[in-house]
């Protein structure tokens, strides 16, 4: 099985980069390779100029990693004890360690629960602790693999603020997520990935415009007797990929060429249909367009 194939991606220092894709797309595999947890069978990857295979020690010194899910914490220990252990793993000790742990606990809003065992924490609190663990070593490069899984909306919003702070600090962040709104809100650029291949890398806004070739045109109040004929005519316009009747009295046209949507609109207006609207795809639609017909199936 090939998990990643022909991946060519450069994330400049200081950028918050989003990696979007469905389950099994290769997002986590990429994160694991970059974090030196997984050895690639071929190819080359470097973090901060250090090769992830040959210079693992250098890479590990500058990265912080947060894998998604609830696992990975020591639930019988307190939040503070968890962070103290991980801080020691990054070479901190003594007063510096204690100060750093206190600062992280405050930053993630767990200062008041610092001495409670993690087994009593909610999923969102555990996820915040995961974040603190990933940042405890003051990393230059932060790899966040589905970091907001299980967070409530308030915590997720705070997370976005936190990512903003990481950007302000000049850190580089690679964030994998399913959440389009999150990607749009926090990422400088977004890469779509599926089946181990990168499909596109753009700024969230630019990505939307890039995909505007996939515009959608909706016509309403179309007399029922004219619908079949109009559908036939619209299908003949170059760049139109799909035309279908929409209840109660509408037509929806999908296009895949930049100049197709204006032609569709013109044709509809010329045909006396005055209730016409085009819609700009949001990132989620972009994502779905690129992923295509695969839906929720997980590829091998």
């Amino acid at each position: 099985m090939t998990a990643l194939d022909g991946v060519d991606l450069v994330v400049p220092a200081g950028e918050v980069h989003g990696l979007l894709g469905p389950n099994g797309a290769g997002k986590t595999t990429l994160c694991k390779i970059l974090s030196t947890v997984l050895l690639p069978t071929s190819g080359h990857a470097s973090v901060g100029g250090h090769d992830v295979v040959r210079e693992t020690a250098d890479v590990r010194r500058i990265i912080g990693i947060v894998f998604g899910g609830e696992r990975g914490l020591y639930t019988r220990l307190t939040a503070r004890q968890n962070l103290e252990f991980w801080a020691a793993m990054y070479g901190l000790r003594g007063r510096t360690l204690r100060r750093r742990v206190d600062a992280m606990l405050s930053q993630i809003g767990l200062a008041e629960r610092a001495d409670d065992r993690v087994e009593g924490f909610s999923r969102g609190m555990k996820q915040r602790l995961h974040l603190a663990r990933g940042l405890i070593g003051d990393p230059q490069v932060v790899l966040l693999d589905e970091p907001t899984t299980g967070m409530d909306p308030v915590a997720a919003r705070e997370f976005r603020t936190l990512v903003g702070e990481l950007r302000d600090d000049g850190r580089t962040v690679l964030l994998t997520t399913h959440d389009m709104a999150e990607a749009e809100a926090v990422c400088d650029r977004v890469t779509l990935i599926d089946n181990g291949r990168l499909l596109a890398t753009e700024r969230p806004a630019a990505l939307s415009s890039w995909i505007s070739t996939y515009s959608r045109v909706d016509a309403r109040d179309v007399p029922a007797e004219r619908v079949p004929k109009l559908i036939g005519e619209l299908r003949d316009i170059p760049g139109v990929t799909a035309v279908r009747a929409v209840q109660p009295s509408g037509i929806r046209v999908e296009t895949d060429a930049a100049d197709a949507a204006p032609q569709v609109v013109r044709h509809l207006l010329d045909s006396g249909i005055n209730s016409v609207a085009t819609s700009t795809p949001d990132l989620e639609e972009v994502y779905l367009h690129i992923i295509g017909e695969r839906g929720l199936r997980v590829s091998r």
Partner: protein, 255 residues
């Protein structure tokens, strides 16, 4: 050193909240009572040191096998091995610190065994040669930790850890001469048992409890330390190979 200490402190904290991992310390005194009741009933009071020492050594080995031996696999199951591997720390030092903590705590079995003999039978087994006893105990703990580091690296690659653990208990109690001295076993066993540090430890500890002078203390302690050092070195090599294999196969995080 920082990583070693961090691993040690972390494991102590974890064991305080996970006493089930040290359940053998509950059964060790009971075994002392069983063995002592046999030796006393047979009128062999001279075998009391054997009956007191054996459960403590068995506890030491069993905890190493089932607790220290599972340290890496436990991290893997917990999902914390991946982030641990991704830190700049020398992971071997952390694991060694953890194993040392488990090993030191398992020495409580010696105190328990002595106390059980005194409390139930009024028997106080004197430590006739305290220097030899202390040297043997320290060397034994060191060698046990070294051997446990081999176990933990091997077990993380095994698909049937329990089968290994079960098969590594009683054979080693025999090879280690924990109850019956190796000298009393069939001759062909001795060469095998001399490769097991436990046989040297058991003999030296027993000798330190009897009135006769302890012979070749330095050399015998040296053998135990050498076997322990070999364990540590082999353990570190195996750990590196195990982690490389897990990284290559992408199974570090697979429980």
């Amino acid at each position: 050193m920082n990583a070693l200490a961090a691993g040690f402190i972390f494991e102590v904290r974890l064991l305080r909240r996970s006493f089930d991992e040290m359940m053998v310390l509950v059964t060790a005194p009971l075994m002392t009572l069983i063995l002592l009741s046999i030796t006393e009933h047979a009128g062999r009071t001279d075998l009391a040191p054997y009956a007191v020492l054996a459960p403590a050594l068995i506890a030491l080995w069993t905890i190493a096998l089932f607790t220290s031996g599972e340290i890496i696999e436990r991290e893997r199951q917990n999902g914390s091995l991946e982030p641990l591997v991704a830190t700049p720390v020398a992971i071997g030092s952390v694991i060694t610190g953890q194993i040392l903590a488990v090993t030191l705590l398992s020495l409580v079995g010696f105190a328990e065994s002595w106390l059980a003999a005194w409390a139930a039978f009024g028997i106080v087994v004197p430590i006739v040669h305290p220097t030899a006893f202390t040297a043997a105990l320290v060397a034994t703990a060191f060698a046990m930790a070294g051997t446990a580091s081999v176990m933990s690296s091997v077990f993380v690659l095994s698909r049937s850890v329990r089968a290994y653990q079960n098969s590594l208990s009683y054979p080693f109690f025999v090879l280690g001469g924990v109850m019956v001295p190796v000298a009393l076993l069939p001759g062909w066993i001795e060469p095998l048992s001399r490769a097991v540090f436990l046989s040297w430890s058991a003999d030296l500890l027993r000798d330190s409890l009897t009135p006769e002078p302890v012979t070749n203390l330095v050399a015998r302690t040296g053998v135990i330390l050498a076997l322990g050092t070999a364990g540590f070195l082999i353990g570190l090599v195996l750990l590196r190979r195990a982690l490389d294999r897990l990284r290559r196969t992408g199974t570090i995080g697979v429980a």
